[in-house]
Amino acid sequence: MKWGMVIDLQKCTGCGECVAACKLENNVAIVEPKESEMGRTMLWMDMLTVYEGEYPRLRVRQFPRPCMHCDHPPCTKVCPVRATYRNEEGIVAQIYPQCIGCRYCMAACPYTVKSFNWYKPEWAPGIRETANPDVSVRLVGVVEKCTFCVHRLQKAKEQAKAEGRNLREGDFQTACAESCPAGAIVFGDLENTNHRVNPLSRSPRATRLLEDLGTEPKVIYLKEVD
């Protein structure tokens, strides 16, 4: 079993629904504009913008960027306390109570997917109650990142076990994949031929970010057809 994601850039409209869904699902902190300018914005799923060409032939491309859940993750190799590691199912997990906040992993990640909690989790009145109870609120001084919604996997596995069956495709979906109105994000088991991600990941349009680094990301992009 190897969880992975395919993002079809041909279908992606750059609407940002995945970014919002991720932020709400995972109780990701909202920082003040001032701090955001200092590069302290917290996003597990970011919408990257690439400008190509020059005016008047300017082309703006946007693509969502979650954690790549690399098969050879550089971040886990530098963690001195094993707060981040790659598990048997290919998820690069982040264990918050174990994290000492050294931020080595942030420096090591070539995709800059990790965020550091600079502040105590503070919520506007009434907002705290709307937080997702299935995801812990991270404390000040720890690093966090996309977990492929591992809390959903925990529940899905339990449900499958209670029903005495194996995990089926669709039992476990990440919040971004579930929310994408264009159906551009597909999530599933890359090793299972019955899952949609399996043939998609072998498509001629498939590409990975910074492939030459040898990190072997499990988020696969399908190139736009020009």
């Binding site: 590691y85 598990n87 048997e88 998820i91 997990a93 264990i95 918050y96 109570p97 174990q98 109870p133 299935d134 995801v135 812990s136 609120v137 977990t147 591992v150 809390h151 925990q154 529940k155 339990e158 076990k161 209670a162």
Partner: protein, 167 residues
């Protein structure tokens, strides 16, 4: 020199007191009603799941409140003072402010269904001999620490991958 020794002794004593009272989990809670588990389980023949109705189907076991108690106690069954408190709560239609004693931190996923219904773990493994208890829980039966979880998981060859529980 002697003065220093005295000062160190006092500091050490204060530290010990702090560790024992404040920093450890030996906090004592006083429950609103001195509920008697023994009377309900041994004498009345109820099972845990009769009152903690969500144990087998949900993540949280649920602490029974007036809606469930009402099933038997709408009218007092004994002359007990504690039962009178309960009947008053029912009459006023006011929920009993039970204090949750066994609390798993939010960063760990613990499901009763997974453990009791699927894993067939007996209630007493984590909660002790509740059937013999004449008073409600004022402290957890066991300190809720990861070492206890890991001990049981390793012994029963259950997955000990961090992401199995941490979230």
């Amino acid at each position: 020199m002697r003065k220093h020794v005295a000062l160190y002794t006092i500091a050490f004593a204060i530290l010990c007191v702090l560790i024992v009272t404040g920093c450890s989990e030996s906090k004592n809670y006083t429950q609103p009603i001195q509920y008697n588990h023994k009377k309900h389980i041994v004498d009345a023949g109820l099972t845990c799941f009769d009152c903690h109705t969500r144990v087998l189907t949900h993540e949280k076991a649920s602490i029974p409140n007036i809606l469930i108690c009402k099933g038997c106690h709408e009218q007092p069954m004994t002359e007990s003072k504690e039962e009178k408190k309960l009947v008053d709560y029912i009459k006023k239609n006011q929920p009993i402010p039970w204090i949750q004693v066994h609390r798993v931190p939010n960063h760990a996923y613990f499901s009763h269904r997974r453990h009791v219904a699927i894993g067939k773990v007996a209630c007493l493994t984590c909660h002790g001999d509740v059937a013999g208890m004449t008073l409600p829980f004022s402290t957890p039966y066991l300190p809720i620490k990861m070492a206890f979880c890991i001990g049981c998981h390793s012994k029963n060859h259950v997955n000990t991958d961090c992401a199995t529980c941490h979230r």
